[in-house]
């Protein structure tokens, strides 16, 4: 598997080859300057952030990805398996247009966005609440849109539960 990916990476290393031939004993004549390291990198690269998007090129399922993210949280339930997320994603998917990968991406992005704005939420709260409310909904929705609407309501100061109630009152009303 690793070999396959490394081969893929090799393919990714495309290069617009140029006609100029170099040799190890080239002197510095004709070399253009390299920019100095910018200020924001003087203390090294920032930590690599966790991915916010699961791509179709990734070889894990949305439920596995969500589980991996969950397992990085403190005091997580070590007994939880990907089946937990599979079940939630399946329940949501039955009422929206998007596939499970897109649903997972929207949940993760929204979790990060709200947390950055100091609004408490985690991916499980979103998944559980959307699964519950969507099962009672009469219409089919675009998940990305209702997640955005939920976010707008949260930024008005409502708690997670109150925002979910209000969202579905507005949508189904």
């Amino acid at each position: 598997m690793l070999l396959r990916h490394l081969c893929l990476l090799t393919l990714l290393s495309l290069l617009a080859a140029c006609s100029d031939h170099s040799s190890s004993n080239q002197d510095n004549v004709g070399f253009t300057e390299i920019k100095p390291v910018p200020k924001y990198l003087q203390n090294g690269m920032p930590e690599l952030k966790d991915k916010e998007t699961l791509s179709i090129a990734d070889n894990i399922t949305p439920s596995e990805w969500l589980l991996l993210r969950y397992q990085k949280t403190p005091e997580h339930d070590t007994q939880r398996t990907k089946a937990y997320y599979e079940a939630l994603l399946t329940r949501i998917q039955a009422h929206v247009h998007e596939n499970q990968r897109v649903i997972a991406n929207r949940v993760v992005q929204m979790t990060n966005k709200l947390n950055e704005n100091a609004l408490p939420i985690d991916q499980e709260m979103l998944l559980v609440s959307f699964a519950k409310h969507l099962e009672q909904a009469k219409k089919e929705y675009v998940f990305g849109e209702i997640v955005d609407n939920y976010s707008n309501i949260r930024t008005m100061g409502l708690s997670h539960e109150a925002a979910m109630e209000r969202l579905f009152e507005l949508l189904e009303g």
Partner: protein, 137 residues
């Protein structure tokens, strides 16, 4: 050429935090066919450079334009990061563990990416590579 390598080393050392190496690696231009036979068993291959830890040499496609192309230079920078990794006691660059290999590769790609960004070069292929690496192990 030495000046170029030294400038690239400054980038590699500053961004990774590894110690400045006691020696700089040798740079050896080679024919595309040699690269292909070494890295891809002679089959079609788009690889343009690699680092040989035993000889501390960066072999690169002789067609790379290191004089003026920052995109070409970014591949040398990538390999210089591997040189630092092998010189450093902080990481086990000889490890065959998947996660370690990927972490080292990702670090090299990230340095390359910042370099390209700073020089206003396209990073799409590098972004894709970093993304693919995330899901390998």
């Amino acid at each position: 050429m030495n000046e170029l390598v030294n400038s690239l080393l400054v980038w590699a050392v500053t961004l990774t935090g590894y110690a400045e190496p006691p020696t700089t690696p040798k740079l050896e231009p080679i024919a595309k066919e040699t690269l292909s036979s070494t890295l891809c068993e002679g089959k079609f291959c788009t690889a343009v450079a690699y680092y040989d830890a035993k000889t501390q040499t960066i072999y690169y496609d002789e067609k790379l334009n290191l004089k003026t192309s920052n995109r070409s230079r970014s591949f040398i920078l990538h390999e210089l990061v591997h040189h630092l990794q092998y010189q450093s006691s902080k990481v086990d660059a000889n490890s065959t563990a998947c996660k370690t290999r990927i972490k080292l590769e990702q670090e090299a790609y990230r340095v390359q990416r910042y370099f390209l960004l700073e020089h206003h070069e396209e990073t799409l292929e590098i972004d894709l590579a970093i993304n693919v690496l995330n899901g390998v192990c």
